[in-house]
Symmetry: C2
């Protein structure tokens, strides 16, 4: 790598709203998306909600000359909806499916059936290793009463842990622990995360992800932004957007992101950042109900005034501790809720079994035969159905408990680091109860 | 680290056979295991099949003075059964739950309900980073007609990919690709994998895991082995073992492993390796139906005659290609099987719907009322049940397809490397068909 080396990386991200039979003008939009991607020739195009594999294959065929490499991330029953087209060869790819992803009985929401995931691509660009992630978290259907909040926080944590684990080193970047000085955990030169997080910038999950990974938000970092007001990625101007859903947000909402980080010795800046504004890039019908994001990133040697990782002074540490604590509380509440559902369904199973026993007694005693015949199968159905829901919530509680244990461990270590640092802040001490309750099981 | 530095690591592994209500003498065995671990004071004790969290808590309480750090990996409905006790502080931990893990309707086998997984611990020992993995793959119930073979191969691949991804670098150790020379992928100094793989040493999954990760088998590497014949970990001398299951293998089988690897600049040797021999370590009743493994590993600076990673000459490369191809074929067959089941259940759903329509017609036409009442609910049950099985197999096919795509990509790259190498072997060319069929989707 030469001293005055500069790598320019043009990235495209779009939630394509590609639900077969349900999304309007799907075939036309996919066609126009293909034309646009071919014309623009980005380095990397990361797409979400490409639910139909045929759409991916059609795009792949069309984009082959410009983007010779592509991958479709398969998971769950429907699929993750994630895919990627790359101008550069893909060295490796893998994926991580989120443990928690809504409820199978919420069929009308359908997230559970998708197997939401994070996909990872490893690219080699001018001798540097780029780990590019694409993801799509659980949708938010009711912001006032969000039953999926704990799941989305758990997904944000799993996403952050996956990135930390694969690209940043589980113990490498947080500035505590004896291993930090070894720098054995350097794993990639650059990390890029694109996708629909279904999280507003100030939402817990978004803060957790950014604080724990140190990823920078391209929209906030760039000096050259063109696009929708406040960088919103769902705007009322878009004819496919349900305006009633944006009633609380007259400008729209920002839930799609381009996030990045240079791991060491490098410095990444976002030269330009663009979004579409409710129309397609040429002011026609929009490409999707979400806006497309287009970022130009510049990778250089780290100038002396920039450290490659954010500093971990007392302010950063206490911001991290605060967000970890908030997430811990959310997961704890989610766990209580899951266990409550498991208990309720446990009672229903008991009731169903009692009913079956009663019916057996009636049948043996030669009671009203028609009643027995009528009630027998629904009772069996009740027991089996409640049994399935019970098992699901037990599994949900286990998943939340696992994420909470990981958070608790990290929280404990962050506090140790804070206590050891000369500037330790006694003001934060009252919040210790969770971390102390069960240090590690 | 001093030039003549040596790190000694004593490791214990046991599949504890801790099924509540079913495993014989569980409480007594757990008690004796705790006493033994306390007495021996290993650096790390990795346990599988600790299905009861209470057993873990009891052990934790007992082992606290000798092993201050511990973790129980929660997943699935029952749990992964994995836990670990460590003399050294645990820096970080995380886990990966396998995508495929048997069938929910095979209730008598129960693996699906466990959420089988691989757990990871990061430890810092004398300034070195140790990534210790513990795992337990799907059981083998019938070696002659193994319906879980594709799932176990997929699990072995996911396990290998997880280790490669987190500890070794997705592109770091295989010796191809432009990024290899960067060594950016150095992530841990030492990797340790212990667990019950439910794979014999020559089984496809075991070879795939070893070839792809380069992990060394402690039993094969040591010069000082004491224990059961051929290092078997399920032996007929063990009073808890069902002798009929070992009919084909008079000496027993070796399915539990201690595997390790030094990542760079270091050299690990296995000084001693011991197994129990059907009794507890003091010749009493055994601690489990599996034998315990005890290894003493020595970590040193890499002497000049040892390279830290296995060489990737033509022989190694063609062995890797051969095992990748074999795994690809197995997953392909598994996928065909999954799709066959999805088709069959699809027909059953159709049949059920037809029956329901017929019953509706009968009811409307005032037909035999009792028949309608009797058949209505079972028909609904049939449609719902077959629907669930259909969705499960669609998901299974997606999971197998994903693993197959990853294998195919790796296979393609291995072949490219082989073709580019001066010693390329034309003899291997006929086997190309799978890799070429659909280079990457």
């Amino acid at each position: 790598m030469k001293p005055n080396f500069t790598l320019r990386l043009r990235v495209f991200n779009l939630n394509c709203w590609g639900i077969p039979y349900l999304s309007k003008h799907r075939a036309d939009r996919v066609k126009r998306l293909g034309d646009f991607l071919n014309m623009e020739s980005f380095d990397l195009a990361l797409l979400e909600e490409v639910w139909s594999e045929q759409d991916f294959q059609d795009l792949r065929q069309k984009l082959l000359p410009t983007y010779p490499a592509a991958h479709y991330f398969r998971s769950g029953i429907i699929g993750s909806g994630l895919c990627v087209f790359s101008k550069h060869p893909i060295q490796e790819f893998t994926q991580h499916v989120f443990t928690l992803n809504g409820y199978p009985y919420m069929i009308h929401h359908g997230d559970w059936f998708c197997g939401k995931a994070v996909g990872l691509l490893v690219l080699h660009l001018s001798g540097l290793v780029l780990n590019a992630y694409v993801t799509h978290l659980h949708a938010e259907y009711n912001r006032q009463k969000d039953v999926y909040l704990a799941h989305r926080v758990a997904q944000a944590w799993e996403l952050a842990q996956f990135i930390q684990c694969v690209s940043l080193g589980l113990t490498g970047e947080v500035g505590w622990g004896p291993g930090t000085e070894d720098h054995t955990s350097k794993k990639a030169d650059m990390v890029l995360l694109c996708g629909d997080l279904n999280l507003h910038p100030k939402d817990l999950g978004c803060r957790l992800l950014k604080e724990w990974t140190g990823l920078c938000d391209a929209y906030l970092e760039t000096r050259d932004f063109k696009g929708s007001e406040e960088g919103c990625t769902m705007v009322p101007e878009n004819c496919y957007v349900n305006r009633r859903e944006l009633e609380q947000f007259p400008l729209g909402i920002r839930i799609d992101y381009v996030l990045y980080k240079a791991v060491s010795g490098l410095y990444i800046s976002c030269k330009t950042f663009k979004t579409t504004t409710g129309h397609d890039p040429h002011s026609g019908t929009p490409l999707s109900d979400h806006e497309a994001l287009m970022a130009t990133l510049c990778v250089r040697h780290s100038p002396p005034q920039h450290t490659s990782s954010p500093s971990h002074g007392p302010a950063e540490r206490s911001a991290l501790i605060s967000v970890l604590r908030e997430a811990w509380t959310e997961l704890d509440q989610g766990m209580a809720q899951a266990l409550w559902w498991a208990t309720i369904t446990g009672y229903v199973i008991g009731l169903g079994l009692l009913l079956l026993a009663l019916l057996c007694a009636l049948a043996v005693g030669g009671g009203i035969r028609e009643v027995v015949i009528l009630l027998w199968t629904p009772s069996v159905g009740l027991v089996l159905g409640a049994g399935a829901v019970y098992l699901f919530h037990v599994q949900e509680a286990k998943g939340l408990c696992r994420a909470r244990a990981e958070l608790q461990h990290v929280l404990g270590r962050a506090r140790e680091a804070q206590d050891l640092s000369p500037e330790s802040q006694p003001a934060l001490q009252p919040g210790r109860q969770e971390g102390d309750r069960a240090e590690e099981q």
